[in-house]
């Protein structure tokens, strides 16, 4: 990403004037941030201000009352906790499984490598919604409905293909010499994998982890269908509960949305470069 400062496209020189660049920058920022900002503003307003005509943009009298209510009306802390637990557990499992698979695909001379890669890609395009019924039956048979595991397993599969593909390309970028050297030193392949390859591919592993985390954090349909018990609801499911039988309290829902966006936003802010490089380099190479 840094290199963009020196690379050039035709539009560059076309719009090199500072005011133009300012405008373009504003367009980009508005496009990216405005919806989130708007929901932040909404969360700081009270119902009367919200239903006022014409509408106000900035809150005239900012209040955190909606946040207080968001936490008191529903166990928002618990929703957050469930979301974190499910996302972290599935991320860990995804990484473990995909590191092993990616190593086999990147390093071992497999006869069916092409076929396996194609299969993985095919799986990554799978419409999970179509599996709602059978998955529901499986979870029910295994007595897993309303448990973290009911979400951790499908979320792992959800991120497995993309993470594996990404890691394959990262592993391929690591010289075999290093690994061979380790093995000459008496290390097994598995030893070399975890002691040489994984540490060297750390940025890739890390990026894969963030992808898996965001995927799990975002998922709504399975969480809605499998974990409906109050103690196990994740955030996207829980946020629906602010809707009453007859009411739709926008300010409180907005506050809950902000609470749900912040953790992922922090993650993205801290690790933005890695996320971008992971998404764009490893992720889409077939």
């Amino acid at each position: 990403m840094r290199s963009s400062a020196i690379s050039a496209s035709p539009v560059d020189s076309l719009l090199s004037g500072t005011p133009l660049r300012l405008i373009v920058g504003l367009i980009l920022l508005t496009n990216g941030f405005f919806p989130a900002l708007w929901i932040l503003f909404t969360s700081l307003k009270l119902e009367p201000e919200l239903t006022q005509q014409p509408i106000t943009w900035l809150p005239s009298d900012p209040t955190i009352q909606n946040y207080v209510q968001a936490f008191s009306d529903q166990p928002l802390g618990l929703f957050l906790f469930n979301s974190f637990a499910v996302a972290l557990l599935s991320t860990a499992l995804t990484l473990l499984v995909s590191v092993l698979a990616a190593y086999a695909l990147a390093r071992l001379n497999l006869r069916y490598r092409g076929l396996i890669l194609s299969l993985i890609i095919a799986v990554s395009t799978f419409p999970l919604v179509t599996l709602l019924v059978p998955l529901f039956e499986i979870m029910r048979a295994l007595n897993l409905l309303n448990s973290w595991t009911a979400l951790v397993l499908p979320y792992t599969v959800l991120s497995l293909p993309i993470c594996t593909l990404m890691l394959v390309s990262f592993f391929e970028g690591i010289p075999r010499d290093l690994e061979n050297a380790a093995m000459i030193d008496g290390c097994t392949r598995i030893g070399a994998l975890f002691k040489v390859v994984v540490p060297l591919a750390a940025p890739g592993v890390f990026t894969a982890g963030i992808l898996a985390f965001v995927n799990a954090w975002d998922e709504f349909l399975l969480a809605l269908s499998f974990n409906s018990s109050p103690n196990l609801r994740t955030l996207p499911v829980g946020i629906q509960l602010y809707q009453g039988e007859f009411t739709f309290p926008w300010p409180v829902i907005s506050a809950a949305l902000v609470v749900g966006i912040v953790p992922v936003a922090i993650l993205i802010v801290i690790f933005q470069e890695r996320v971008v490089s992971g998404l764009t380099s490893g992720g889409i190479k077939g």
Partner: protein, 412 residues
């Protein structure tokens, strides 16, 4: 599974701190209540029960605040044959479905004649008592007493009266924000009543003994009634976006002369935040020209899960929750309409909610929505069609055709 138990433990320990302890030899019953149904108040009723039944402990589980969300949640739990819930609160439209699926265990030796007849009917499926009434509800016509008095108009008894009253008042008041009538046009459960009330008023039934008895003309008339009121400006143009609480808000803000709504709107319309407090009247929903007065029956019911491992205790608890004593308590403290006829004139009840005295007549004319195990599908067909007609996507004729063709498949 390990995850499951450790998850539950962690959750209990770190976040919820659910009423810890209490693990001694007691039967613990879990009661499912929607958080919209004043769980705090039910808690008080349950506390009394616990006090007189020390061997039973009752825990409330809340969730699924809309009728649809609640149905989805219970569908998941019940298909999983989950035994964690003992007692369930059900929307009045669900007992038939739950009975067919075998999800509830019926009551024996209960005298249903003590309840209002409509509730006795709605809770009895194939001669079995599936659930006992928790509280009653019905749709009413709310109106602005101040505006009607100002123009010397009496509350309308037919839709034509309402239309004329609205046009006179709107013209004189000259307020562009003032709507003649507000009602549910959005594709939610309430939109079924929007269709059914004028349909029934023409003396027609939609479903008889589980079979479709569809009258095409009556359906066209019912849909045309509402569409006509949108076209002539009696109702607002975006009524297809209006959900139950939007009706309440518009009326409460003083932006509607008339509104069709459930009983919950009363307390709020007369509350301190209301622009129309003290100017609110309630009468039965108008009838069609030459038709009979009727309205949509609402309310919620208590049932016992077939998968509960404490059948006897759960049945006893439900009998208590559906008793006159609790019904009276909830009427006085929660403004919930009683399911026993004589409570409507009980002095303590009328002291707390004077308008209940008039409400009984309305509840008695109320009809239950179609009783069928496939109610969810019937409901989906009707409410999306009503919504489409209100939005002008289909004409009333097309809407009636669509309802007929889709329902005839579902109710073969």
């Amino acid at each position: 599974m390990n995850f499951k138990t450790s998850a539950a433990l962690l959750v209990a320990a770190s976040i919820l701190s659910i009423s810890a302890g209490a693990a001694y030899a007691q039967t613990e019953l879990k009661v499912y209540i929607s958080s919209q149904h004043q769980p705090d108040l039910w808690r008080q009723a349950l506390d009394k029960y616990e006090a007189s039944n020390p061997d039973v402990k009752v825990v409330i589980e809340t969730g699924g605040n809309t009728s649809e969300a609640q149905a989805q949640y219970l569908n998941t739990v019940m298909t999983a044959k989950d035994s964690s819930l003992d007692v369930l609160i059900l929307d009045i439209v669900r007992p038939a479905q739950f009975a067919a699926a075998g999800w509830t265990s019926p009551f024996t030796e209960v005298d249903m004649s003590a309840y209002l007849p409509a509730y006795a009917d709605a809770n009895t499926v194939d001669g079995k008592v599936i659930a006992l009434p928790a509280f009653a509800d019905a749709q009413f016509l709310y109106y602005r007493t101040d505006l009607l008095e100002k123009y010397n108009i009496s509350p309308p008894s037919t839709w034509e009266d309402l239309r004329q009253a609205a046009s006179v008042i709107k013209e004189q008041e000259n307020n562009p924000d003032l709507q003649g009538v507000s009602f549910v046009g959005k594709a939610i459960e309430g939109a079924n009543c929007t269709f059914l009330v004028p349909y029934w008023s023409q003396g027609q039934e939609l479903v008889t003994d589980g079979k479709l008895t569809f009258d095409h003309d009556a359906a066209v008339n019912a849909l045309s009634l509402w569409k006509g009121m949108i076209d002539d400006g009696t109702a607002k143009a975006n009524i297809a976006e209006v959900a139950t609480d939007d009706v309440r808000k518009d009326f409460q803000a003083g932006n509607a002369i008339f509104a069709v709504n459930w009983s919950y709107a009363w307390a709020q319309a007369q509350g301190p935040e209301s622009a129309v407090a003290g100017k609110v009247g309630v009468v039965p929903v108008p009838r069609m020209e030459g038709g009979e007065p009727t309205t949509c029956l609402g309310g919620w019911e208590w049932s016992v899960s077939a998968y509960s491992t404490h059948q006897e205790e759960a049945h006893d608890l439900v009998k208590y929750l559906a008793s006159p004593e609790v019904s009276k308590f909830m009427a006085i403290n929660g403004a919930l309409l009683p399911t026993y006829g004589d409570l409507y004139t009980d002095p303590e009840v009328t002291a707390a909610a004077p308008w209940f005295a008039n409400a009984k007549a309305v509840v008695e004319t109320a009809k239950p929505r179609p009783v069928t195990p496939r109610y969810n599908e019937v409901s989906e067909v009707i409410r999306t069609t009503v919504n489409a007609v209100m939005a002008g996507v289909s004409t009333p004729e097309e809407g009636a055709d669509l309802i007929e063709s889709r329902l005839s498949r579902i109710l073969r």
